[in-house]
C-alpha cells in the first residue's frame, strides 16, 4: 500500500519543515520503507465495525473551563527563552519584502 519514494520523502520534509541533505533523505527513505513494511501487518486485522479509539480512559469526556486569563507568566520570564528579542517582543526575520 505504501508507495514511498524520493519525491514522497521530499514532500514529507516540506510538510514537517525540516531541512535535510540528499544523503540524509536517502537514509530516511530506507528506514521508513522498512518500518512501513512492518506496520503493514495491521492490514490483516479485521476491523470492520470497530470504532477508532478516541478516548483511552473508560468514561472519560472532554474537560472544559471558562475562557479566562489565568496563570500569567511574566513577559520577561517568557522572553528569557526567546532566541532573539527586541523591545519586549520576539524578533523574527522580515516576512514582508521591502521594495
Amino acid at each position: 500500500m505504501s508507495n514511498l519514494d524520493k519525491e514522497a520523502i521530499h514532500n514529507l520534509i516540506k510538510l514537517s519543515r525540516i531541512e535535510c541533505s540528499e544523503e540524509e533523505q536517502a537514509r530516511l527513505l530506507k528506514d521508513l520503507e522498512k518500518i512501513l513494511v512492518y506496520i503493514e501487518q495491521l492490514q490483516e486485522v479485521d476491523t470492520a465495525n470497530v470504532s477508532p479509539c478516541n478516548q483511552v480512559l473508560e468514561g472519560a469526556c472532554n474537560v472544559m473551563r471558562e475562557d479566562e486569563v489565568r496563570d500569567i507568566m511574566p513577559r520577561e520570564l517568557f522572553l528569557s527563552n526567546a532566541p532573539s528579542q527586541v523591545g519586549g517582543m520576539i524578533r523574527v526575520p522580515p516576512v514582508i519584502k521591502s521594495n
Binding site: 514529507l12 525540516i18 495491521l42 479509539c53 480512559l57 473551563r65 527563552n81 526567546a82 532566541p83 526575520p93
Partner: protein
C-alpha cells in the same frame, strides 16, 4: 546509608539520627565519584540541594511539621520542568531552555520536602529504548558499564540503580520507565493514564505519555504515588479520582488473586528469560495466586499500532519547536521559512527526524485511513481484549523485556530497537497501570524484570501484588559493584 530505601532515609531524618545535609552530601559525593563512569545526570544541583537540605534541618529543629518525603533526594528526567533549571530533553534544540515554571510533580515533591538532586539523561525527547539517542551524553548500565541502561528514562534508572539517589521520576510512552527499570534491576511504575499530572512534562505522545516513579522498593514507589497521584486542573487528561492509599494495603496477601499469562504470545521468548519468568510465576503461586492462561493475541500488533500513533502524535507535538519562541534558532536562517527548516535540521537528531516524518506520513492525505484510523481501530480491539481478560483475571503478568541489557552500539537498526518494547507498549495503548519489578538475573549477571499489569485505575492492586512478590524474594536487594 546510600543503599537504604527512601522510607528508611526519611525515617532516620525524622528521628533526628541524621541531618538532611549529611544525606544530600552522601549522595552528591557518590555522584561525584562514580557518575563520570555512568553518565546518569545531565545536571547535578549541588548548591540548590544543599541549600534545601539546610532549610529542612532548620525546619526540623524548629519543630515544624515535615512532609512525607522529608530529606529524601530525588532525580528528575530532563523532560520534566524544575523552575529555573534547564529542561534539555537531551536535545540540541533545547540545550539552553530554562523551565519557566514547575511541573506539577515537581511542586508536589517539594511540598512534601523531597530534595531534587539533579536532572537525568534520556533519549532525545524520550524517543528510544536505550538512551543512546541522547544528543548530549552516553549513559551506561551500573550493572555492566558496556551496556545501555535501557530507555528512554535511562538516566533516572541508572541513577537509582547506582544508588546516586533512592528515587527518580521518568516518563513512559511505550515502556520508557519499565524497560530501563528491568535492565537496571529496580522498580519502575507506569500509573493508569491520567493518574499523574503531565503539566510540565514535555509532550511526546499525548494519548500515551505518563510520568512514573523509579525506586529500589515497591513501598518507595507507592509512597511517590501517594504524593503525586492526584487530580490536577492544569492537565485536562488528569484523572478526576480521589487520591489512593497504597501503603496500607501492603499486607503481602494475594491469596486467590487470579493472574493471567498469555503463553501463546510468549512463544518466541528465549529459554533463559522464560525460565526466570516461570520461576517468578511459581513464587506468585506459592503465595496463593492462581496462574491462568489467557488469550492476548492482539498484542502482536502493539508495536505497529504504537509506531503509527506515537509518531503521529509526536509530529503534532514537536511542531511547536519552531526556533521562534524558545529553543535554538539557526544562525544561518535569513528568512522565516529558513528559521523553521534550518532550526529543526540542526536541532533534531536522526531518530526524532525519523519519527516526525513517519508521523507526518501516516497522517497525510490519502494515508490517514489506512494507517492512523486503522491503528486507532486496533487500539480499540486491544482495549477490549484486556477488558475481557480483566473480567476473569485480577492482573496480567508478562516479562518486561525479551532481553537483558544489550551492549551500547549493538543494535543499529531502528526497527530492531522498536521491538525491544514488545511487552511494554500494550499498557500504554490501553491506559493500564503496570509495574516492572526485579524477578531474577541472567547467567551473565544482568537483571531481568517482571511486569504486572492491572485494569484501569487499579493502581493499588498492581503495586500490592508486586509488593507481595518482593516480600518473598531478594532480587531487589542485590547491588551492582559500584554501589556495594
Amino acid at each position: 546509608m546510600h543503599s537504604l530505601s527512601a522510607i528508611e532515609i526519611r525515617d532516620k531524618f525524622l528521628r533526628g539520627e541524621i541531618s538532611a545535609v549529611t544525606i544530600v552530601e552522601t549522595f552528591l559525593k557518590r555522584i561525584e565519584k562514580y557518575d563520570h563512569e555512568v553518565g546518569a545526570f545531565l545536571a547535578v544541583f549541588n548548591e540548590r540541594a544543599i541549600q534545601q537540605a539546610k532549610k529542612l534541618d532548620e525546619k526540623r529543629k524548629a519543630g515544624h511539621k515535615l512532609g512525607k518525603l522529608a530529606g529524601v533526594p530525588i532525580a528528575i528526567k530532563d523532560n520534566i520542568h524544575v523552575k529555573g533549571e534547564l529542561s534539555t530533553c537531551a536535545s540540541k534544540f533545547l540545550t539552553n531552555y530554562r523551565a519557566p515554571f514547575d511541573a506539577t510533580v515537581t511542586r508536589l515533591l517539594e511540598a512534601e520536602d523531597a530534595i531534587i538532586i539533579g536532572k537525568t539523561n534520556l533519549d532525545e525527547f524520550a524517543m528510544g529504548s536505550s538512551t543512546e539517542n541522547s544528543a548530549l551524553q552516553k549513559t551506561r548500565n551500573p550493572w555492566n558499564l558496556k551496556c545501555t541502561p535501557g530507555g528512554s528514562s535511562g538516566g533516572s534508572a541508572a541513577a537509582v540503580a547506582a544508588r546516586f539517589c533512592p528515587l527518580a521520576f521518568g516518563s513512559d510512552t511505550g515502556g520508557s520507565v519499565r524497560l530501563p527499570a528491568s535492565f537496571c534491576g529496580i522498580v519502575g511504575y507506569k500509573p493508569t493514564y491520567g493518574r499523574v499530572s503531565r503539566y510540565g512534562l514535555v509532550a511526546f505522545g499525548s494519548s500515551l505519555d505518563q510520568i512514573g516513579p523509579f525506586a529500589t522498593t515497591t513501598a518507595d514507589a507507592a509512597l511517590l504515588m501517594e504524593v503525586v497521584g492526584r487530580h490536577c486542573e492544569h492537565d485536562s487528561t488528569s484523572l478526576d479520582a480521589p487520591q489512593e492509599d497504597y501503603l496500607s494495603s501492603f499486607n503481602g496477601d494475594i491469596k486467590g488473586m487470579r493472574i493471567g499469562v498469555p503463553w501463546q504470545f510468549l512463544e518466541q521468548l528465549a529459554e533463559e528469560p522464560k525460565q526466570v519468568f516461570s520461576a517468578a510465576l511459581e513464587k506468585l503461586k506459592s503465595l496463593g495466586a492462581e496462574i491462568v492462561d489467557v488469550d492476548l493475541s492482539i498484542l502482536k500488533y502493539s508495536i505497529a499500532v504504537y509506531y503509527i500513533l506515537a509518531t503521529a502524535e509526536a509530529s503534532t507535538n514537536l511542531a511547536r519547536f519552531d526556533g521562534i519562541r524558545y529553543g535554538q534558532r539557526s544562525a544561518r536562517a535569513k528568512t522565516l521559512d529558513e528559521v523553521y527548516d534550518f532550526s529543526k535540521e540542526e536541532g533534531y537528531g536522526p531518530e526524532v527526524k525519523r519519527r516526525i516524518l513517519l508521523g507526518t506520513y501516516v497522517l497525510s492525505a490519502g494515508y490517514k485511513d489506512s494507517y492512523y484510523k486503522k491503528a486507532q481501530q486496533v487500539r480499540t480491539l486491544t482495549i477490549q481484549q484486556f477488558k475481557g481478560i480483566f473480567q476473569k483475571c485480577d492482573l496480567v503478568a508478562l516479562p518486561t523485556s525479551p532481553f537483558t541489557a544489550f551492549e551500547i552500539g549493538a543494535i543499529k537498526d531502528p526497527l530492531q530497537l522498536y521491538l525491544e518494547d514488545i511487552y511494554t507498549i500494550a499498557a500504554n495503548l490501553a491506559g493500564l497501570p503496570a509495574v516492572s519489578i526485579p524477578e531474577g538475573f541472567s547467567r551473565d549477571g544482568k537483571p531481568l524484570g517482571m511486569q504486572l499489569i492491572g485494569p484501569q485505575k487499579q493502581d493499588v492492586r498492581v503495586l500490592k501484588a508486586a509488593n507481595a512478590f518482593e516480600k518473598v524474594t531478594d532480587y531487589h536487594k542485590a547491588l551492582p559493584e559500584l554501589a556495594k
